[in-house]
């Protein structure tokens, strides 16, 4: 047991200082904060256990082999996203640092109460990031995001309360599937965007700002992957959830016309690989899930950086309105393609190493159907991210009007992220220094490389053959979010009726008592019902927790 500063608290302090330091000096905290946290994380290593008390919340740190890679990559991407967000609004910068702090807190939490506190802080910080996006849609998306995550948080809290009831040991660890386990699983699966609980992601991420999307893509789903690996390793249900996620995401991405929503669907798909890896539960599969989360944060961050730069420069995020950008943004195209080939699993890039780890683990575990489905998902990934998006956004000659210049800070962030994708792809042994458990796996065998090249070339041929069917059109794709919004409207309408009935009852009662009513009728904002319901659920969970 040693004493150390909590890296999450360092990031929180940086967020606070970024909020109060006069502009433009506040931007320094975007690099100093994550940089300091990264140094602390390296000092903690992967075999440290410390306890830091902060009021009622025990801030014990458990820096083991599972926490270390997640904490490291969270600090790295916070730094890179901070550079990318150099010219973003201060609210986005501060909320981004708070989200990084919360995600770091989640992976280091040794106690369930600390875990829950960081978990909710991440939801609030993410909602602020979304709210800072494209108005007025961003405000509504942030509200929906907060509602979904309050429901998920309430499920998690009630499950945790039942789990720790009557126990003295509240340390974060594996949980069996019972009533508390299912509630905890639902709470985590909402954050992991497991269909049909994924709609918040594809709803909110495209509506955030360019810099906000980079922060969002890094923390919420990956901290949920960490939680699944910590709490439910080897759960068979997760194998199929992950496999369905991988396919679901790519199918909807093929249909998508909005550049950033297309990438958001690919988060669902790529997190599916990680969830499947966690479900397989073998040491190689777990190492693959962690390695894929590590690599995914880098290449998905790069893709969102490049897409955000394109959207801000061209003024539209619709593929049917984009085109011809290769002439005006050649550097962005090259950097985007590094991310696109990496997510597609092209050799010499980090996605090749981590993706082949999971697929090989599935094959080694005698799960040929899972391995085949994950391979088909990789085909869909290259089809939409590696071919459809760059061909229609950067190819052709359709874009009319001027293209705004991209700030130098964005090029710096994109170049550094792309460099990390290449370095970890060329030197997988450096990745294995951070992610333990995969040291014996050799990705660069004749068979692996040939398979990857075959997959990419056949997919490219299929794209050329089916190009007419993949042409983007101005359309809206209905997903589960439409259903949830319809249910939400029904609930609000029912709430309105109950409220108006209560008002009528009150009026009748007052009239019966012969008391004159005021001139102004009472109205209750509909928003209050949903927030109220979520708060009641939270209060119930807290009460249960306190009782235990």
């Amino acid at each position: 047991m040693t004493e150390s500063l909590h890296p999450g608290l360092v990031l929180l302090a940086a967020a606070l200082l970024a909020g109060v330091t006069p502009s433009p000096w506040h931007r320094a905290w975007l690099v100093i904060g994550p940089g300091s946290a990264l140094v602390l994380i390296q000092r903690l290593g992967n075999t440290t256990e410390t306890t830091i008390a902060a009021g009622v919340i025990p801030l014990g740190i458990r820096a083991d082999a599972l926490a270390y890679p997640f904490a490291t990559i969270f600090a790295v991407i916070a730094c890179l996203a901070g550079i990318y967000a150099w010219r973003a609004s201060r609210r986005c910068q501060v909320a981004g640092l708070v989200a990084a702090a919360a995600a770091t807190g989640i992976v280091y939490a040794a106690d369930w109460l600390a875990f829950y506190a960081w978990w909710e802080l991440l939801a609030i910080a993410s909602a602020v990031i979304i709210h800072d996006g494209i108005r007025p849609a961003a405000g509504r998306a942030a509200y929906r995001y907060l509602l979904v995550h309050l429901v998920g948080g309430a499920s998690l809290l009630i499950g945790l309360a039942q789990l720790v009831a009557g126990r003295s040991d509240r340390s974060v660890g594996a949980v069996e599937l019972g009533v508390p386990g299912v509630l905890i699983l639902v709470g985590i699966c909402i954050n992991a965007a497991v269909p049909p609980l994924h709609a918040w992601l594809t709803d909110a991420y495209p509506r955030s700002s360019a810099a906000g999307a980079v922060f969002l893509s890094a923390f919420a789903t990956k901290s949920a992957v960490y939680a699944l690996a910590r709490v439910f390793p080897g759960l068979e249900l997760l194998v199929w959830c992950g496999t369905i996620m991988a396919l679901y995401g790519v199918i909807f991405a093929v249909l998508e016309n909005n550049v950033r929503r297309l990438l958001a669907y690919h988060i669902v798909s790529q997190v599916g690989y990680m969830v499947a890896g966690v479900g397989l539960g073998t040491p190689l599969a777990l190492a693959g899930a962690v390695a894929h989360a590590f690599c995914h944060i880098l290449y998905k961050g790069l893709l969102f950086m490049a897409a955000g730069a394109v959207v801000d420069a061209a003024g539209t995020s619709r593929l049917d309105e984009l085109g011809g950008l290769r002439r005006v943004l050649p550097g962005t195209l090259w950097l985007y393609m590094i991310g696109a080939l990496s997510i597609s699993g092209a050799p010499l890039l980090n996605g090749f190493v981590s993706k082949s780890l999971i697929v090989s683990a599935a094959a080694d575990a005698q799960r040929p159907l899972v391995a085949a489905c994950l391979t088909i998902a990789a085909v869909g990934t290259f089809l939409s991210v590696g071919l459809k998006l760059p061909v229609y956004a950067f190819g052709g000659a359709r874009l009319t009007g001027s293209v705004a210049p991209i700030p130098a800070s964005r090029y710096v962030a994109m170049s550094m992220t792309a460099l990390l994708c290449v370095v970890l792809g060329v030197r997988p042994d450096w990745l294995y220094l951070i992610v333990r458990g995969a040291e014996t796996y050799e990705p660069y065998t004749w068979g692996h490389v040939l398979e990857a090249l075959q997959l990419l070339s056949v997919t490219a041929l299929a794209f050329v053959l089916f190009r007419a069917k993949l042409r983007p059109t101005q359309s809206t794709t209905l997903d589960f979010d439409r259903m949830y919004r319809a249910i939400g409207r029904l609930v609000l309408r029912a709430g309105d009726r109950v409220a108006s009935s209560a008002d009528k009852l009150e009026a009748w009662a007052l009239a019966a008592a012969d008391i004159r009513l005021g001139a102004q009728p009472r109205t209750v904002p509909t928003v209050a019902y949903s927030v109220g319901a979520a708060l009641v659920a939270l209060a119930l969970g807290i009460a249960l927790f306190a009782r235990s």
Binding site: P136, A141, I251, V254, G380, G447, L450, V458, L461, T476
Partner: protein, 62 residues
């Protein structure tokens, strides 16, 4: 992009020949090509079929 079809087809055939000529212990030769080919056809087919039911004309503003 008509010019790309024969080139890509030749590359695919060449990669299968390479796999047959120098087999590895990593599965049956040709399986990845078949999986990728069938997978891409299936994905585009499923997506377009779903699109008929789930897509509405007009941009998604909110």
């Amino acid at each position: 992009m008509t010019w790309a079809r024969p080139i890509l087809a030749a590359v695919c055939v060449g990669l299968v020949i390479l796999e047959v000529a120098r087999p590895s212990d990593h599965g049956v030769p040709g399986v990845t090509v078949i999986l990728a080919g069938a997978g891409s056809v299936a994905l585009v087919g499923v997506a377009k079929t779903l699109g008929k039911w789930l897509q509405r004309p007009g941009a998604d503003d909110d």
